[in-house]
Symmetry: C2
Subunit: 230 residues, 2 copies
């Protein structure tokens, strides 16, 4: 396909965002990946994002340095214990302790700034409402409101020359459906990391909410998760 | 007044945001100031923000380190010449070269994250539609859309326990009215800096759009601008 449209993809190095990158490519977008070093307790997912960006041939990979730790309040950035369980069915629908205040709003704002500079009007984010119903900034009504705001925030939006779209291809999919779609598109999931609390070598714990959901997604496809577990 | 409500104020060190801080205080808010080190060509306005925060007794002053330079595209962050004029009336209504892509969206997103952590539901920003009609992210419809998005993005918004408000006390004021209001509230404008292109010692150029508007605002109050000009 020639004359590709540029798409900005939020890439965390996890299963979801890697699948989104594969979907954007399959839809004919020229992929620009953006990742964030935001004071995660482990930088392992960032090196996964780098490997994925390279292996999947993105046109450019930008890593934004942020310090969300200075605002505190999450098990993903602070010294708060990540909850461990034995079964994905135990995951509740309350807002989890791993919620980082306004994280997706900050991430999407940077993606918007970059998109505007690139002349891109398509932003892709791997939010998903089924598995993470507890995160306010993963719901369709939030994404819709962000899109509306974005179109009032930018030059192109105001001049009416280009309308920004926030694409959420995974929004209604189960983890099993996401894995299936990614495998169809040839995603190598051994490169991805989902764990909230990996070991020092990057091996997944297998018992945090992210691991349990991921394992369930592979199990429902009768496939072994190729990620490393400790 | 006891039992003050916390208010998060975006403080750049300029005339507008310093006036906003004074207004928030006068309305009984306990002020939390947030500033950004975002790759401005000069860090002079950040030291002004620090002095102002201290002198005006904010409860806490957070400085967020960002690199908006990596996205490029503005005379405020890149090596693009800041336009100089002799008269404020020459300022057009097109989007200026000093526009930084999605800047206010990024700034407000961080303010939102901090507000959520503080348990604050009031955010103050010194946007103004009359003088800077060229910036898309200074218009009331943009602010309204951001507020709507913010109330879908946060725990408190979703749980219905607290509604976030974006306050824009200067939105409809002329520069002369802003100066008048600040002087009534006892603002010491000698601490503030507005210039887009100050000298190495921090003296204002007197000929960029920001200087011209500021000088006009003081002149219309028959008062000499106490800022240092080169």
């Amino acid at each position: 396909m020639n004359n590709l449209r540029k798409g900005v993809i939020l890439l965390s190095g996890g299963l979801d965002s890697t699948t989104v990158l594969a979907i954007a490519k399959s839809e004919g977008y020229q992929p620009y990946a953006i990742s964030f070093h935001y004071g995660q307790r482990h930088a392992y997912e960032l090196s996964a994002a780098k490997r994925i960006a390279q292996q999947m041939g993105v046109s450019e990979h930008t890593i934004v340095e942020l310090n969300l730790r200075q605002f505190g309040g999450s098990a993903l950035t602070d010294n708060i214990d990540v909850p461990k369980r034995t079964n994905a069915d135990e995951i509740g629908s309350e807002i989890p302790i791993t919620y980082v205040p306004a994280r997706n709003t900050i991430f999407l704002s940077f993606a918007l700034a970059w998109a505007e500079t690139l002349g891109a009007s398509d932003i892709f984010i791997g939010v998903n409402v089924l598995d993470y119903s507890g995160y306010p900034d993963c719901r369709p009504e939030y994404i819709e409101a962000f899109e509306q705001m974005a179109n009032l925030a930018t030059k192109a939006g105001v001049e009416g020359t280009q309308r920004t779209t926030i694409h959420t291809p995974l929004i209604d999919m189960t983890k099993a459906e996401i894995v299936r779609r990614g495998l169809e598109l040839g995603v190598d999931y051994s490169m991805t990391t989902s764990c909230y609390d990996p070991s020092e070598t990057g091996a997944a714990c297998g018992h945090c909410d992210a691991c349990l959901l991921r394992l369930k997604g592979f199990a429902e496809n009768q496939i072994k998760d190729p990620a490393q577990y400790s």
